[in-house]
Symmetry: C2
Subunit: 430 residues, 2 copies
Amino acid sequence: MLYFDPAEGWSREEIEQAQVARLRATIAQARKAPIYCNRFDEMGITPDSIQSVDDVRKLPVTTKDDLRAQYPDKMNTVPRKDIVRMHASSGTTGSPTVIHYTQSDLDSWSDLVARCLHMVGVRPEHVFQNMTGYGLFTGGLGLHYGAERLGCLTMPSGPGNTKRQFMLMKDFNTYAAHIIPSYALYLGAALRDMGMAPEELPLGIVVTGAEPHTEEARQRIEKLLGVKAYNSYGLSEMNGPGVAFECTEQHGMHIWEDAFLPEIVDPVTLEPVADGEIGELIMTTLCRTGMPIIRYRTRDLTRFITDECPCGRQHRRIDRILGRADDMLIIKGVNIYPMQVERVLMEFSEVGENYVIELERENFIDQLRVKVEIKEEHFVEDMRVLQGLQRKIASRLCSEILITPRVEIVQHNSLPKSEGKAQRVVDKRE
Amino acid sequence: MLYFDPAEGWSREEIEQAQVARLRATIAQARKAPIYCNRFDEMGITPDSIQSVDDVRKLPVTTKDDLRAQYPDKMNTVPRKDIVRMHASSGTTGSPTVIHYTQSDLDSWSDLVARCLHMVGVRPEHVFQNMTGYGLFTGGLGLHYGAERLGCLTMPSGPGNTKRQFMLMKDFNTYAAHIIPSYALYLGAALRDMGMAPEELPLGIVVTGAEPHTEEARQRIEKLLGVKAYNSYGLSEMNGPGVAFECTEQHGMHIWEDAFLPEIVDPVTLEPVADGEIGELIMTTLCRTGMPIIRYRTRDLTRFITDECPCGRQHRRIDRILGRADDMLIIKGVNIYPMQVERVLMEFSEVGENYVIELERENFIDQLRVKVEIKEEHFVEDMRVLQGLQRKIASRLCSEILITPRVEIVQHNSLPKSEGKAQRVVDKRE
Ligand SMILES: [Zn+2]
Ligand SMILES: [Zn+2]
């Protein structure tokens, strides 16, 4: 069979028809939670408010703080006896965010995850090694149920114990594995250190999720482990994994639009950004019964990839997560994301890994300065060469962020270093 | 409904009829694995060899070493594509023991666990907090699937993070939890140390398994946490948890005899022991499709409890696990288990916790000597009082183990102590 689920092959028209019908049903269901009942009544919203997909913009957004305020189960829309699972985010501050699932929610979640795995070539005859933690984190049980639903031999090996992971892979001929990117890199290095070639592993596919990671990290994982690595996107508010997943083109993740209604908006105005522009991903559940969520602000930055996917699927693709909405800077009225600057800098082979974005206000006008270290081996004394490089970088940045920054190339090891998360942005404006 | 599954209420006749039919089907299925095909052919066994439940004794036993030799999947009786799960024992030495499950095996396993929870009063409207590790260990996913199958709100909180466990319990009104006994004791002590009364927890039922523990430990858990604690018995070779479980009588664990055929035998001769006598538990799977196991030697010591259970269920009960078959001593031709001696000693309030069992051979005759410390506060100088106590202990031991030992009461702190597992038996015979 070509698709695990026929919905995978729907045309845009079929997708949007289903979205409208399901969004109307979701509004009716969500009303059973006081938070939505109140907000809908205030705004005069009924299922009939939705006549087209764009009408989703009439609906109120839901934030993580809303979820926290409804802790532990005030957003449930079914009786307690119909809830069979809960997951929770760890919640570094305040109450955790809790998601409740009915049996039908678990079934459709498992189907979505199975669909993702099937899309990249995992089949019932394969062994699937689930190398992530289980528990309240949705990644473990989410992939576990999905792989089992697909019919794989599902091995709940959990994280850690690298030697045993390799032993299990070899002895059970593991074809597909779920690994968080940092552990995948660690495993790859361990394999190399043990003097083993990637070809000695039966592994063909690795699913990576839970941590944002770069294209370079993916390529490194693929090379070290001798696999195809596919990027998985999910968040517990939208079930967990199984929201968006790369197809074999490895160019953007298809969001399953029969189950979720995605929007990408300006994080400040909440207006939709132009197609292909970066913004905050907002999603509405279309099939959830126990705890529907309307227009959830993920705070994740991404963009729609606008061309047709050669795989033929019409579910739109999002780019890998480019940062958090909280990172956004507004400079001369333009939204800029540090990740955009980083991406441009990394295109230049002369440029090292350390850089700083400085914002100042001079005569009431915002100024953007980008300081970047040059690699040791590229250091040149000829000022003209340096200035040429500065101009080239400034011009590429301008085409990306629509603002011309002052670019300053500095010596290797001259910018402040930090052991933890680097402070990339220094905002000196009041 | 009285029973989660009608099989729970079967009469002995119904149970045994099902056992015969299912054992015959199991033999037919097991033949598909070379190990059983060969053994059955050598012994001339076919499904028709089974005409009554006792005919199970015609079948060959299966040991842990057999399972290891069939690693990783040589005992499977269905094609790889039909296997959807594996679990493995950690395997301190040699290959791990691996169990493979079909979807139907997972379904019947979940049904058995749900039946256990239902039997002690857990219901779909309850919250079930699963505080054990997940992964290759069967306890985590086994109870998880069972609670979800029953329809509980199943919270995969995993082990550890005691403060969060209490917070989740309170906020979600957790009624039932699955905890390993040592962690249950730790939780109870933590509650007390936090100055909280057990009544402040909503917890009503605790399921304890995975570690053998005493009746005293159970009572302590019940008191510290303000719950009823129910003993659960299982082993991955027989799925995992859900093999035997206490009913609300808390007097022995009902083995689900529609799914397993239990025997209790002399670990040396493999002959059945008399009803109510201690021996090694042997079990045969009756419903497994992916990897049936014939007469598995669990090495666990227990006995059948022979009186009728007031709860009315006709599935036989086993006592809590009394030790390992490897601990058995043969003295004057009689099988003796150190746990039997310990139980008798602990009946005497004067007796401390440290004791040693010594075996000697004098003039070709085995001699059993039991040295036991007296509690500090019970020490008496009057030899006659001491001798009286020694006689009383010897006489109780004789009635339990059918051999009269020499009992020696020694001073508090005079026997060798060990930081780890105490060495209780010193065998000085050649
Ligand atoms: Zn595609
Ligand atoms: Zn009973």
